[in-house]
């Protein structure tokens, strides 16, 4: 008996070792590099340097701006789509949903190339509207990631709640605002977290659309290109901090909405 339990558990050991080696160890090395300089001395210069340089701070703000606008646009486009799909009684519903997922399976660089050619044709020169093009590009790239979680949440909603709201005299709009929308917040939150962070870091979309402004990801790229491991590690660490903060925030919000749902 003892032996059999041991054998099933021990299957996890290789993966455990793998995670320690390729997930945890790189993070510790990252922390070490972020707080040392080229001579191996411990320093916080990389950190203070980041927060005292107007260029890097500007990059941080620009990343936030791009990410916030992209996330908002994705949400505005995705919510109606998810809502209409989830509440429709069409037989072809699953096929239409597949149509929204399919672009995720096409290589993103090829899709952005396609978008770039189309935008070049429409605008003439992409350099005139760098911010707009970047938001369009990122929305094009990340939209399915926003649609899916919202769709899943809305389609799992208990229809009886809506019926109850109607029976109690709520109009269609009121029922949507007071029942559907609050209950779909967990889906919105997971959609936002799937779009916001990539939008802060995916600098390839900017590069390909000729936006020469830096976002956080581009800083890592440029430090990598100049073999500055210490500076790059600090940026990576700051990004990691943002990821952690974001995860904690969304987790807290999710728990709260879960509780709210129970109360409702």
């Amino acid at each position: 008996m003892q032996k059999k339990i041991l054998s099933r558990k021990s299957l996890g050991i290789p993966y455990m070792i793998f995670l320690v080696l390729f997930v945890m160890a790189p993070l510790f090395v990252l922390i070490y590099y972020a707080f040392t300089n080229g001579q191996g001395e411990i320093t916080i210069q990389n950190l203070t340097g980041f927060f005292s340089d107007p260029n890097t701070l500007g990059t941080l703000c620009y990343s936030f701006g791009i990410a916030a606008v992209t996330t908002a646009v994705c949400l505005l486009l995705a919510y109606p789509v998810a809502y209409v799909l989830a509440t429709s009684h069409l037989k072809e519903k699953s096929v239409i949903l597949l149509l929204f997922i399919m672009p995720m399976w096409i290589n993103f660089s090829l899709r952005i190339t396609a978008l770039k050619e189309l935008l070049t044709w429409l605008e003439g020169n992409l350099a005139y509207h760098p911010f707009l093009n970047t938001v369009i590009g990122m929305t094009y790239d990340f939209l399915p990631f926003m649609i899916l979680p919202i769709y899943t949440t809305i389609s799992k909603l208990d229809g009886a709640l809506l019926e109850a709201a109607r029976d109690l005299g709520a109009g269609e709009l009121q029922a949507f605002l007071k029942v559907t929308l609050p209950l779909s917040i967990p889906g919105i939150i997971s959609g936002v977290s799937m779009v916001f962070l990539p939008a802060m870091t995916n600098y390839v979309v900017l590069d390909m659309l000729y936006n020469s402004t830096y976002i956080m990801g581009s800083l890592i790229g440029s430090y990598f290109a100049s073999y500055n491991w210490h500076g790059g590690s600090m940026i990576a660490l700051i990004l990691l901090g943002i990821v952690c903060l974001f995860t904690l925030l969304t987790r807290g919000a999710e728990e709260e909405t879960a509780r709210g749902g129970v109360l409702l």
């Binding site: 993966y15 455990m16 090395v29 399976w105 396609a114 044709w121 995916n202 890592i220 995860t247």
Partner: protein, 269 residues
């Protein structure tokens, strides 16, 4: 009635936004135009270039081999990890779950850069060995296999495993004959997810790949930064081919899955 029109409008417009660029590019891939907008004659020359230029063929095959190889490794590791975590004590299981979550929520740039720092800068592993690249892609993919297998383990009927043991099967046999078949759909969707993640990856590859090797993503990104026209338009042909393959794959999967399509979509995510 107007409500119905509005509802279809929403769907159609967003679908147009998602598909119009690819469709237009596909049409132009069959001409000899160098930019879209120009109307030129019908031609297959982009497809000829795509399949006869050694550089392009090598890049495509390399990407596919890398994706299948790392997805295979990731599936084995992720599945073993899921089974192990499922049967472990709470502390151990939550340690694996937490570590597993790191690459999932982390930005790919950070994952790629940190693996590059550890393997290439600190340990001095040469990128030419492909070890950093494969390690990076397995790190990127295995957590998603893990996450697709865990729900199947939870749904599994554990009494069958116990029954197999009572009937004299060794734990190993019971695992292979009872547990694996029950969680197999999860392994398959994890594998599929791993393949698409690896195919789509740019950031991990760019920080860990050998200088002479390119995946589709890294190749395309470099090619758009000032490539010759022949290569650029050959890549249009590549998008068309990939688009058609995805459509074909989706249709085949749809027919095979039949009525279970909706269920599958849920599990795939």
């Amino acid at each position: 009635m107007t409500k119905k029109i509005w509802r279809s409008m929403v769907i159609v417009l967003v679908l147009l936004f998602l598909y119009l660029p690819i469709l237009i590019l596909s049409v132009y891939s069959f001409t000899d135009a160098a930019n879209i907008g120009a109307i030129r004659g019908f031609s297959f020359h982009n497809y000829v270039t795509l399949f006869t230029t050694p550089e392009l063929v090598k890049m495509i095959l390399g990407t596919v081999v890398l994706a299948l190889g790392s997805a295979f490794l990731a599936s084995i590791l992720g599945t073993m990890g899921a089974i192990g975590a499922f049967y472990s004590k709470k502390g151990m299981a939550s340690a694996i779950h937490t570590m597993n979550q790191v690459p999932v929520v982390n930005a790919d740039v950070v994952t790629g850069f940190s693996i590059c720092i550890l393997l290439v800068v600190v340990l001095g592993v040469s990128k030419d060995t492909f070890i950093p690249l494969v390690a990076g892609h397995v790190t990127l993919c295995a957590p998603f296999v893990f996450l697709s297998v865990i729900p199947k383990l939870k749904q599994m009927d554990s009494s069958i495993y116990e029954a197999a043991l009572d009937l004299g099967a060794t734990p190993g046999t019971a695992l292979v004959k009872i547990v694996i078949p029950q969680i197999f759909p999860g392994i398959v969707s994890g594998f599929a997810l791993a393949v698409t993640l690896s195919l789509d990856d740019y950031f991990v590859a760019t920080y860990t790949k050998p200088a002479t090797f390119d995946t589709i993503s890294t190749y395309v990104v470099n090619a758009t930064k000032g490539a010759q026209t022949t290569i650029k338009t050959a890549l249009w042909a590549l998008s068309t081919v990939i688009f058609l393959l995805v459509v074909l794959f989706t249709i085949v999967m749809n027919i095979r899955a039949g009525k279970n399509v909706q269920e599958r979509n849920g599990a795939g995510q």
